[in-house]
Amino acid sequence: MLQVEGLTCRFGAKTAVDQATFSVERGGFIGVIGRSGAGKSTLLRSINRLVEPSEGRVMFEGIDVTALKGNDLRRWRARSAMIFQQFNLVGRLDVLSNVLMGRLAEVSTWRSLLQIWPDKDKAIAISALEQFDMMAVAAQRADSLSGGQQQRVAIARALVQEPDVILADEPIASLDPRNTRIVMDALLRINKHFGITVICNLHSLDLARTYCDRLLGMSAGRIVFDGVPAALTDRIARELYDLEAGEVMGTSPEQGIDGVAVPALGAAMA
């Protein structure tokens, strides 16, 4: 079980996450929603300590994650795999090597630096890639792949970490509708079959409602909504996204934009 207690992250005078408190049961699929700048990424990144929290605690199964150091911290990062919006692969390494990055915490340093991977770790990486039909491109450079393919490699990398939690930071924001489906379905499959907790930042309310069994709504760094998708009324959604009445639906990329009125000049600045 993951518990976040009074978590606060400041960058200078800016408070990106403000007193966030919630807990997540094992096996949940949690969506974090809110406008851009609401603090969603910072929240996720403070859970795996890519950013240092200024205040508060993160507990995972009795371990105080915020106090971890050195080896223990690296082990925690391996247990809480992150998936990024921009994939964050090493473009100049081949695809299989990128997936093997997910085994770094398990393999001894000298072996990994010489790229002499143990057979067991190689088998796991190959199995994960093949699961996404990606072994055909295993020897190619990662930056030669399309966005959708790169994200599948990134998910394979996350999976071979054999994580307890997957932190996905807008994993589909750079993808087309078809790849969006593939990636979200993969996350759901991982969640349901292997019981891995997924915490996923999402822009699209429709996707959040479809895939998640619980939503956290963030606004200006605070958690202002915490409940099942059905409890997210249009009124709350409007407040979260600061929209006019009736604008809530149609935020998914699949839906057309016909019937949209031409916004007034300067509206984009608001």
């Binding site: 088998a123 796991i124 190959i126 199995s127 699961q131 891995i196």
Partner: protein, 294 residues
């Protein structure tokens, strides 16, 4: 609960691993052959140029012995008088060192400007025409492979004795050295901003100014400052051929066996380089700090 990644059956795994090994075999073979060639080349070079370890170990003592001979005798009783005698020419040497630094400064500045102008033409990612890249690269190569002391000799013949040939020699060599390093930095930039500016209708100069320059500037400054430090040493020997600076006194002291003068001048040069290193490091960190603050 099943593992996060269900392992495939062994025969399927083996087939996939073999396919991957086959696809990466060429690359691994190249690295291996390259490594062997490197070792062979080192052995061959050592053998054919008659690098003799025994000769080195038999004579290595001479090297510190020469330096030991240059150390002045300074006793505690007459400390200040001894030091004053050792540094008898300090006024003249400091003036010459000042000349050396000015030569370095002007030469590095002119060379950095030359390298800056040429580096973009030598970058294959910004210039379509392979001919321009080729010619620019060869020009830069010529500038940096001719030793600066040789340039200085030629310029002394052309312009006469004095600091001007020194400045020109350093400028030319620096153009070649920095142009190459700068071009390498430019070739490693992220192409996305370049495409962004091209797609907005920018011409070549605008692409260089707005897409390339912001990505490379801090690296350029680091390399130019490093070159400044290297050039102090280069300029210190310019005087050997009459191209100005402290070198003229250093070579005279070496030739006429004024041992203590050699150590005094060398010490002054070392101190100068250290001071410059400390200052340029400060400047560099300032620049990097400013970048990350934004």
């Amino acid at each position: 609960m099943p593992a996060a990644v269900p392992k495939l059956p062994d025969d399927q795994l083996d087939a996939l691993a073999a396919a991957y090994a086959g696809a990466t075999a060429a690359k691994r073979r190249h690295v291996f052959i390259g490594g062997i060639l490197l070792v062979l080349a080192v052995v061959l070079a050592a053998w054919s140029s008659e690098v003799s370890i025994t000769k080195f170990s038999e004579n290595v003592w001479r090297f510190p012995a020469y330096f030991a001979g240059t150390i002045p005798s300074i006793s505690l009783a007459t400390f200040s008088a001894d030091v004053a005698e050792w540094l008898w020419g300090i006024k003249r040497w400091l003036r010459l060192l000042g000349d050396t630094i000015l030569i370095t400064y002007l030469g590095t500045l002119a060379g950095a400007i030359g390298g800056f102008v040429l580096c973009f033409l030598a970058s294959a990612n910004l210039v379509r025409s392979p001919a321009i890249v080729f010619v620019t690269r060869r020009t830069l190569e010529f500038c940096r492979t001719v030793p600066e002391i040789v340039f200085a000799l030629i310029f002394v013949l052309a312009f006469g004795l004095g600091p001007l040939p020194g400045v020109l020699a350093i400028a030319l060599h620096t153009t070649g050295a920095l142009g190459k390093l700068f071009a390498e930095v430019v070739e490693n930039i992220d192409n996305k901003p370049v495409e962004g500016v091209i797609a907005s209708g920018g011409n070549w100069f605008q692409v260089v100014r707005f897409a390339a320059l912001p990505q490379v500037l801090s690296n350029f400054v680091s390399y130019a400052l490093l070159r400044f430090e290297i050039n102090v040493r280069g300029a210190a020997v310019m005087g050997f051929v009459g191209a100005g600076g402290i070198g003229q006194d250093l070579i005279e002291a070496v030739r006429k066996f004024y041992y203590t003068d050699v150590s005094a001048i060398l010490m002054l040069i070392v101190i100068t380089v250290m001071v410059i290193d400390l200052v340029t490091e400060r400047v560099r960190h300032r620049l990097i700090g400013m970048e990350s603050d934004r």
